[in-house]
Symmetry: C2
Subunit: 633 residues, 2 copies
């Protein structure tokens, strides 16, 4: 197999495979040669200066390539992507190769200075920034056009020559991580730093948020239990619980920003400079001059995009919302019909029929959510956003609004149109618990089981091929490339967001929701961890400094929940009894309280600083130093 080593391996024999490139079956020889050559070429010649090694599969095809890099190359790459590392004086600084000696744990022979996730992130960045020089097409594929500066990997991906690029698991590290993460049944904090080293900041931050959020729900859960146990029905107690809940949710969201700043400062991502964003792979347009870079690249008129957003997507979303409401009305009709039927001919069959509408509705909601998700992805992609971040924001907004309505519309209807608190409590409990059980099952246990079965089959096939039972690199790669792809934290955050809605929107009606949420999240941590470690391909690390648009989404939910809770309390018979003479006084009081609560929320959000004082000082210190350095120049 020695012949398949790239030219570079002459001066670096300890090739450590980091990233896998899978090409389409039957890719032309000249294309492969040109592509691998470009990856290996020196930086000064416009290459990526990485190491490449083909992996021979069972049928002898060379369609899988392993990419690695020399230690020096990785260090230089760390400088390019702007990694921030801890220095010897325990401050965080942007890594540069020339100042490498000042960094903590740096030694020329310490290959663990950069975590494996960081190395893989660097290689991904370098591969994506491998740009066409004067090639007009991809050799061998005249229909795959190139222009100077176009990312080669992105063009290969969009023209289907490149099937996928993914980072390899490190079986040793993964085993260690699994052990400390969910190996022992013991209640303790998650090993966030280890997760971050292995999966990168975005995923570690999700688990951090999940854990934080679970802890934050505990006070609500603890206060909620006696309401259930002693069946407290005094509404002054409910008012207290709701008030506490509303202020508490503001506090936890504000404090999360501080926690997030502490964690991401330690990880260095809080200080990382935002890189210039390249167009996302799917972006297309006529060749023009980018006004920002002055480079030739596809441009697409912003007005056209606005037209697509406001004249097509927006009406479509509204239509979907309307349709969802329409389906909800049909559900209530069915429910009524089932009730009538049960009353008329009381039998075992008829009482079973009572459940039918709910089941149908639950299934329909699930189907609608899925169809809508595809539609939203299609539409957002058709809107042709230049940047991945703007694509994501538009997608999240579309999906959030629809999911919010789809999940909560029936509850709102029950609460504010039917005024049926008992039914509300019952529906809330059913929806929350079933959605939690379904999610846990569909999200990790089912894929885990499928994956295990496939692994067995694969192993069997492998065993028939070879005789040694130890899983070699070839087997590992073949196994991992068949694994599902983890498409980011979107669905996980969405689940938490909807859960937060169930807990806070109607918290004064069903205080037990927080208890179920806490219980669910405790297992959710384990099932999500299992999913990350066992079910999916390893995802590329993605540096991030916060949870992005989700912070806003949670804050909006907590504002809406102030309104809903105030109305619910205002509608309760106990509170109504306080104002026997005049409904008007009641409503005015409720409105006043609501406005006061909202005002307090906004003031609290304003008064609590987003970053703890010591982080603020550290950031100010860095800023001061860079100002001083500029002066010295």
């Amino acid at each position: 197999m020695a012949k398949s080593w790239s030219v570079l391996d002459t001066f670096e024999m300890n090739f450590r495979p980091l990233v896998v490139i899978e090409l389409a079956r039957g890719t032309k020889k000249e294309t492969i040669e040109w592509f691998t050559q470009r990856i290996v070429d020196k930086k000064s010649d416009g290459g990526a200066q990485l190491l490449v090694k083909p992996l021979v599969t069972e049928n002898g095809d060379e369609i899988i390539y392993l990419v690695g890099a020399s230690h020096l190359r990785l260090l230089l790459g760390a400088e390019t992507v702007g990694l921030v590392k801890e220095c010897n004086d325990s401050s965080m600084r942007t890594f540069t190769y020339s100042s490498r000696k000042t960094f903590k744990d740096f030694a020329d022979d310490n290959h663990n200075f950069l975590t494996m996730a960081e190395c893989q992130y660097i290689i991904k960045h370098e591969l994506e920034n491998l740009r066409a020089k004067d090639e007009k097409i991809i050799p061998g594929y005249p229909q795959a056009k190139l222009y100077p500066g176009k990312s080669i990997v992105r063009r290969l991906l969009t023209s289907g020559i490149l099937v996928q690029i993914f980072p390899l698991h490190d079986r040793e590290e993964l085993k260690k991580l699994r052990h400390s993460w969910y190996g022992r049944v013991k209640v303790r904090y998650q090993p966030l730093d280890e997760i971050r080293c292995y999966f990168g900041e975005t995923i570690a931050l999700y688990f951090g948020f999940l854990e934080y959020f679970t802890f934050a729900l505990i006070p609500m859960a603890v206060i909620g239990i006696p309401y259930y146990v002693f069946a407290w029905e005094d509404y002054d107690k409910y008012v207290m619980f709701a008030t506490f809940n509303l202020l508490w949710s503001t506090v936890i969201l504000e404090v999360w920003k501080r926690v997030c700043a502490i964690v991401t400062y330690r990880w260095g991502t809080l200080l990382m400079k935002r890189q210039f964003e390249e167009p996302r792979p799917g972006f297309h347009g006529v060749l023009g001059i980018n006004p920002i870079t002055g480079r030739e690249e596809p441009v697409y008129s912003s007005i056209k995009r606005q037209i697509r957003i406001y004249l097509v997507s927006l009406p479509f979303v509204c239509l979907c919302l309307y349709f969802s409401l329409y389906v909800m009305m049909i559900y209530f009709d069915l429910e009524q019909w089932a009730l009538d039927y049960h009353e008329e001919n009381e039998s075992n069959f008829s009482s079973l029929m009572l459940f039918v509408p709910s089941i149908i509705y639950a299934v329909v909601i699930e189907i609608m959510n899925r169809i809508y998700r595809y539609a939203a992805e299609f539409l957002t992609s058709w809107e042709n956003h230049r940047l991945e971040s703007s694509y994501q924001n538009h997608l999240i907004l579309k999906v959030l609004v629809f999911n919010f309505l789809n999940c909560f519309a029936s509850l709102f209807y029950i609460a504010f149109v039917l005024f049926d608190m008992k039914l509300l409590r019952q529906s809330l409990a059913t929806l929350l618990i079933t959605s939690q059980i379904l999610n846990q099952f569909a999200e990790s246990l089912l894929p885990y089981w499928l994956q295990k079965r496939q692994k067995k089959r694969m192993k069997k096939r492998m065993c028939s091929l070879k005789t040694d039972t130890d899983l070699s690199l070839v087997e590992q790669v073949n196994l991992e490339r068949e694994m599902g792809t983890y498409f980011g934290t979107f669905d996980d955050y969405l689940e938490l967001f909807l859960q937060f809605g169930y807990v806070s929107l109607f918290s004064c009606v069903y205080p037990l929701a927080a208890v179920f949420a806490v219980l669910n999240n405790m297992t959710e941590i384990y099932s999500d961890a299992l999913k990350m470690c066992r079910v999916y391909k390893r995802p590329f690390a993605e540096p991030t400094a916060n949870i992005g648009v989700w912070q806003l989404a949670f804050e909006t939910m907590s504002v809406i929940s102030v309104v809903t809770n105030c109305i619910l309390i205002g509608m309760s018979p106990q509170v109504n009894a306080f104002f026997p003479d005049s409904k008007m006084d009641l409503i005015l009081t409720v409105a006043l309280v609501e406005h006061l609560l909202l005002a307090i929320k906004f003031i609290m959000a304003f008064v609590i600083p987003d970053k703890p004082r010591d982080i603020q000082i550290k950031l100010a210190k860095l800023e001061f130093e860079s100002l001083e350095a500029l002066k010295q120049q």
Copy 2:
């Protein structure tokens, strides 16, 4: 007088006086010598490397010094303060001496490359950054302690040796500016760029905001006139007017951010890096190590400050607010008493008596505002904020809250407790118009008259001393140092803020308020311009990129006005007539509309980008270039 030139004038004969330093009468000779020497000393010796020239006054004292600088020194200073200037390719860039040739209008002999305001700002910055080396005290004043790194000028100011530092007017430029600003009676835009060249960005931005705000009020005023002329009393029309008003106020505040970005981009301040903020002059504490700079300087525990803020200032402010409400209640009692008296014994005297309570209350409000202002300044200063910006923010917050309550509490009481719309309209009109007239008079006309009288007296005295009638430099300096000091745009913005309150809080009751506001602002522009040019000392230019905390204040006011207007409309008999059966439906409808309006406001604020697209592109381009430059390194 040649002997009094500093050493430096040997190589720069064309000394142009820019800044005046006035020392206390009887300052010791050694102090003056040391201080002027430090100003003149080379940068490498820790001096400011400026030019100094004493000005001999009538009685022969040398207590006034003129400060200037060589052209080269000013250019280097422009680099130090980080001025942003236009380049030949019409992009905006931070000025550096080495790249000076690439800047528009730069020529070695073009002394107008930097505006006079910029030169004065540079000199102020250099003087304030003149720091003690190894001096322990100010020579001649053993009680005025120094420590290495302490700003000498700030210590001289706090120990009373330095009376004031102010920039000189440029009589020629001022004449030109006056002519184009308010010389001709003709409706047109203000010469904002010229104002900015002469007075700096903060003041120019205030006038820009004043003008923008006036234009923005015109649609409201135009729509408001027919309501008055045709005495429209249909509440559907009022509802329309109020809805338009509320959305309009959101739009204008969002659009202002964009206008502000356009203007400050042109001025270069949008791109200016924030300088490291030094402690404000009044800040004191024990000597310690600043954790950010690592330098020795006074430090003051943040916890102590928090205690002072929350345990002393906050209760005091609350007490003042309570007192203000108490006074208001007394006013209403007096008003009632006057009414009763008038009803009992109807006479000319008694009908005159009807006005007495209002007059007393107006005077008391004014007195309370002034006393409170002193108290707020004292308290905020006692809170011992390290930074001028944080001092200003705390002061603004204190004053804003009190002024808001003091001015609007009686209107709120009339509207929501007495439910007397007629009285509300009457009080609103009276308060708005009288406050406008009083303000215009007290703010500029009175000081202008006083100043003119003093000038005459001064001229007389001068004439008795000398024979030539042309105002020499000595006379100019003597005249200007006696002029009042302009303490920043605080009071001007406060006036606009309260006006915005009068216009928007009760806009559906009194649509004519916008008309009065527009009329007032049209004269306000002239009287403020007069004030700046004729009444006050020239203020130092202060670079700024936005109107700071006022943006937030105006936005908060526009949120509050949604609430007040919705309640007012809900209370109107015409709207009540729509819901003859149930008050409850009415209130619920009003609450729903209010929440919808608030939601629309927030969505609009979110959707409208803060910077226009072309400015965004220009900023992104600069950021991209600096990233690329970093990579090249």
